[in-house]
């Protein structure tokens, strides 16, 4: 019993085992058609850039009763380079794990004294797209040690847990069967390095949480709310799985 209690503590700081070795890690980019890849790589035709451009405008617009814009504190958006690669990140003042969307919502409330932007709203998507795009090409590098470890474990549990009427876990598709076909589509490894991404199915840009909700619905499970603690923990686990893959935001996915 004592050993069981101590077990989670002893794994702190240790690198957990990877189901997909680093040499076999493949971004979602490699599971889409050549035309979609070309659309993603050429930023002039990448539809996700519409949101990035919108974000550039909003970045300089004062908002909330404090009448401050993002630029008032952060300066140019280029100062955000590398930030998205570290999210989700543990916030010690809130004692919570925050994803990029959550961080922007906190900024809205704390520094601009406004109301948080709704999840999946055009504005929040524009901000996340802009900030994540600054890190395009940088490797995903999240911290899963220290206070972030319990959230990581929670995300891992969710990832490995069978759920829904189909009784499937994330791992059963994206680790045991990636590269094989599910009806007409090839199953990807479920790497999160391209989000927020433009999905052809959605015909719009969307957050990773929206993608997760679609996966949950796919296995006929009740999805968690976007931005919920469960999804943010799962996001951390997914980011760790994608550790080292380059950020591709705004990615184009099928």
């Amino acid at each position: 019993m004592l050993a069981l209690l101590l077990a989670p503590l002893s794994v702190q700081g240790q690198e957990p085992q990877r189901a997909i070795p680093a040499s076999e890690m493949r971004s979602g980019r490699e599971f889409v058609s050549a035309a979609t890849r070309a659309q993603q790589d050429d930023l002039t035709v990448n539809p996700g850039m519409l949101w990035v451009e919108q974000g550039e405008k909003l970045w300089r617009e004062p908002a909330g009763p404090a009448e401050r814009s993002c630029a008032s504190c952060h300066g140019e958006e280029a100062s955000m380079r590398g930030v998205a690669a570290r999210y989700p990140l543990y916030d010690s003042s809130l004692q919570r794990l925050l994803n990029l969307e959550g961080r922007i919502q906190r900024c809205r409330v704390e520094h601009q004294k406004g109301t948080p932007l709704a999840y999946e709203s055009a504005e929040l998507l524009a901000f996340t797209a802009l900030i994540a795009q600054q890190s395009r090409g940088l490797p995903v590098k999240v911290d899963i040690d220290g206070p972030a470890r319990p959230f990581f474990q929670r995300g891992r549990t969710l990832y490995l847990q069978r759920q829904g009427q189909l009784n499937l876990s994330c791992a059963q598709c994206h680790e045991d069967n990636w590269g094989r076909r599910l009806r007409a589509e090839q199953i990807s490894q479920g790497m999160s390095n391209g989000f927020p991404a433009y999905r052809l199915e959605w015909q719009t840009l969307g957050s990773l949480n929206r993608r997760l909700r679609a996966c949950f619905q796919g296995v006929r499970a009740e999805p968690f709310a976007s931005g919920s603690d469960e999804f943010v923990a799962l996001e951390l686990y997914l980011a760790w799985r994608a550790q080292g893959l380059p950020i591709e935001t705004p990615a184009v996915r099928r």
Binding site: T44, V45, P47, M49, L50, E53, Q54, L200, Q203, T204
Partner: protein, 106 residues
Amino acid sequence: MPATRIVLPAKARKGEVIEIKTLINHVMETGFRRDSVGNAIPRDIITKFTCTYAGVEVFRMDLFTGVAANPFVAFTTIATETGELVFEWTDQHGAITREQAHLSVV
């Protein structure tokens, strides 16, 4: 006004064929879909796209419900003289989104 992106070379030689790429943010709602409670989602589409170059129309396109959201249109024209290219997207209500770009011909 919806966001747009226009990409073309800033400069071109006289007689050169240049490629122009355009993108506009638009839902292109077909009118055939229903929302979660079964109500029809009304049609909302762009119906016409034109490009004039130094006052002369060089490209025109009619759009229908089969065109996906955020229409991307690429076309070519011949660089004849230095001038403005004017891009106009007209939606089904007659609202026009207009953008301009400058081309220098050397």
